[in-house]
Amino acid sequence: MPILEHLWIIPLLPLLGATVNGLFGRTWPNKIVNSVAIGATGLSFLAALEAVREFFLLSPEQIPWVRQYFSWIEAGNFRAGFDLQVDQLTVVMLLVVTGVGWLIHIYSTGYMAHEGGYYRFFAYLNLFMFFMLILVMAANYVLLFVGWEGVGLASYLLIGFYFLRKSAADAGKKAFIVNRIGDFGFMLGMFLLFRTFGTLDFFKHAGAGGALGLFDKAAPLSAEAMGHLGTLTVACLLLFMGAAGKSAQIPLYVWLPDAMEGPTPVSALIHAATMVTAGVYVVARSHVLFMHAPTAMLVVAVVGCATALFAATIGLVQTDIKKVLAYSTVSQLGYMFLACGVGAFSAGIFHLMTHAFFKALLFLAAGSVIHAMGGEQDMLHMGGLSKKIKWTYVTMFTGTLAIAGIPPLSGFFSKDSILLSAYQSENGGPNVGHILYAAGLFTALLTSFYMFRLIFLTFFGKERYDEHHVHVHESPKSMLVPLAILAVLSIVGGWLAAPAFWGKPDYFAKFLEPVFAAPGASEAGTAEAVVHALETPLAIVAVITALAGLLAAYWLYVKQPSKPDKLAKFFGGAYQTLLHKYYVDEFYNAAVVRPLMWLSTNVFWKAVDVSIIDGAVNGIAEGITVVGDGTRRTQSGNTRSYAVWVVVGAIVIVAVIFWPHVRPVLGVVR
């Protein structure tokens, strides 16, 4: 089994591509640069496919398939190895990452053809692929963290790709720093886990040489033993903090909308399809721990749900096409966390996958639109594009249908299973699940509305741009082909779960079952029956909701184009709040950034460092100098004074030597 033995080949290929392009690509023509980049990613994709093929030949005992290549860090009883693993979850992620990644690479050759820094772009993109693959293939938290930080770096570089623009550089920096805040939690989570279990290796069952991984140790524990606010709860919450940073959840979501400063393929790949879902992946990967921490699960669910709703509301009023998609991404990530939070990890991963397809599609299509518009991103300056860029329109519309949850497109299935799980959830109280469901459903309505609003504003109605300056043109094949493929995937991607509707197993969930098998798997049978009974009614409700959103958008933006403004005026306060994203950035700025800067500048630096500490140091020096000057002045040059000094000295000596005699005398004086 060559590839499974040499799993490192899969991530290494993109790294090679990145290195070659980064070091030598500067002088090469675009053709060679993109051949290298696409070749590296494509080969990686092929290798992943081969690995998956081989993976299916493994017996269940051999899964997870772990290969330890070399020790990366060793200290005391701590070891972090360069260990890669493959299990079902990895397989899904691997295919999504390499597949979608490859498509986006191809798309980029067209999209970036006229941009400067072509080699740089592809080097970064390949670098991203490398780290993302490390992330999903890592067999321990530390290596996962490598990928985790690495994708953050790639994201930073790519967001700031147009570094001449201050906003782009700012956005990159913001993304990195906000991610770091999450990583702070992630690291502490790792530390706590190591402190509790003495290892950070994953495993579960198939340990090498009888060694136990973290999950093997955690799995037998009962949730009760760990307590509702126990070690694992803390650990999980800390891990979730990291996940929230990477996957843009409340309160750390602020970087993602800004990240749209990067080139559109980057937004598609990193900020929609892959990197931002890493948080979901981590939570799913750590499901063993989360299962033992109901409180943490609840937090995940609530945060996810809240984020979904919150971001969706902001998405309602955005006019920048990429911003809408960005908030939509945040919202959809919230969905995934909601799924994880209610214990439906496979549903979460399922949505992750379908979202990767349709959101990548949407972004790429949006990129195509922007490309066509010559860089224009504001939807208010578009309109009526459906005839001019037909292919883009068709594919984008497909994506919108998928995300809105219109059957039988992929989004419908994944969203449906999430809502179903939420509805059933009883963690934290009997009604919590229903509340979550309701919120999720409302979010679905909003999603449907703002996505169709996007479509209608962009492709329908009057042209609102200056036709003399903007020459709308269809994108090249290299961009359209990936769009088409992704559109197909968006349609069929959900069909793996479709059989659930007619009583057959959900193949996707079944495939992941070995990974997510809960301790109480034996009860699955009865649960499934209940599930099935609920499935159809809930699906119908969901579809109706989606259609309602569609109709509302149609009515507002196609039928009554003047209405939105009136509405906006009518709900002035609310509208402004949404338009300004609830003023969260402003709040962070005022509550955290500025006080910190002020404190650092005026208190720590100027007051403490310069005035107090250095002031004390220089003050001592100054004081000594003053005393020294005083000492010097006793040297008046006058012999008579000198004689008095001698007398003074005589008295000092005599007084010291006769101290026992002198003391009582002085005592009397006192």
Binding site: S636, N638, R640, S641, A643, V644, W645, V647, V648, A650, I651, V654, F658
Partner: protein, 167 residues
Amino acid sequence: MTASLIIFFVLAALAVGGALSLIFQKHPIHSALSLIVVMVALAGLYLLLGAEFVAAVQIIVYGGAIMVLFVFVIMLLNAGIEEHTNFSKLAGFPGLLLAFALTGFIAATIARSTDTVQAAAQPGNMASTKDLSTMIFKDFVYPFELTSFLILVAVLGAIVLAQREKA
């Protein structure tokens, strides 16, 4: 009160008076004369103590040679009345106080001391000049010889320092 005590007090008063006069006289020549008074009084005290040779040397060397030298230099330099400057802040009242404190302390310590000091001084002629010379030339011959070098140095110094600049 015996006669010798009276003599002692008279001489002591003379010595202290001379010393005070040395301080209060404005003109150096008067100070010098006051010092001679002190020296003569001290010579008297030496006689009282029975140290005739020392008394003689006191008069001859101190009163005769050294003080003459002083007077000579005062005349040579044509020193007038002391200029009464007060540049030193320390040498005013603080100096006075400190000097008094020191003197008082020394005097008090000596007065209260229980050592040999308390014994009455022996009068009479325990010291013959012959014994003295024996001591100087036998026991203390080394410092004595060194003294000759000292005087040599003094001569040399006087020459080097006071010599007029060659043209």
